[in-house]
Subunit: 92 residues, 4 copies
């Protein structure tokens, strides 16, 4: 369900995600061709870095829209808790 006030910078996010999807397919090809482990791992590292950028873009969207709106409406505390819990899960 769409959440009003929490829309994303879609064009940029979708471009990043499409690129990641292509990178993952590229890794499948590398595995298929028995490419050298370390070269495959280097590509996995690139996807992980690209994924971090998606996570940061989402966090930026979230803080600058949802959290800020919640703060204005006096409901900021729960949003901040939810945010740090999400970052905590992302850290591992």
């Amino acid at each position: 369900m769409a959440v009003p006030g929490c829309s994303h910078d879609k064009v940029s996010l979708q471009a990043r995600l499409a690129r990641i999807e292509g990178q993952v397919r590229g890794i499948q090809r590398m595995v298929d061709e028995d490419r050298y482990c370390i070269d495959v791992l280097t590509q996995v590292t690139a996807v992980k870095a690209a994924l971090d950028k998606v996570a940061l873009a989402l966090l930026d969207d979230h803080v600058s829209r949802c959290v800020v709106d919640a703060v204005r409406e006096g409901a900021g505390e729960q949003k901040v808790k939810e945010l740090t819990a999400a970052i905590s899960r992302y850290l591992g």
Copy 2:
């Protein structure tokens, strides 16, 4: 180019990568539908964890095949340096 002695556990790796590709497509749909940032981020977190598992499977393959073979042939030192450099890049 295929590297002899460095073949992967392909079936399991490809299954993981196909699942990751599907998850990334799922995230694209979520963004398209303006789903809640934190829910999208939760899915990005799942992909990151799945990617870590791919990296670990590659490291396992690499150490148990390429590095072990290199050690037996007296060329272990360079392989170990290459390995820790790859882990270092993966850590960020």
Copy 3:
């Protein structure tokens, strides 16, 4: 210089940091005693997890105080940029 409105939950943060300092000293002892690499690494992993908790506590403090105050004063955007830049550096 102290920043008004950005005070930390000091007691809990200092307790965490004192514990981390003790853990780091414990690792120095382990190295001194030539303890098994994997056991030393396990302790390093524990310190990293404890450090993540400190980072999250700081982020929580920062968002719920500084960022929220900045938003109320109409200066939220710069604070959000600064926040995501800091998380980005922390991710690696």
Copy 4:
């Protein structure tokens, strides 16, 4: 208990750990002085990066000594499993 054949590059490791201990004490001072959250977080980020370097040095020691020795004695497989389990825990 010391593990024969698994000695560390102690001088360099201890230097890194002593520096980390000092950095952690520096963070305690920053918290005490109510320094700006983002500046404290920047220091926590530096400690995390330094800790990653310790982990990598331990992994390097471990692979080039313990794992290589185990391989030579035909007991490599268990060591490799133990290694990837340790890296997995470190990744989060």
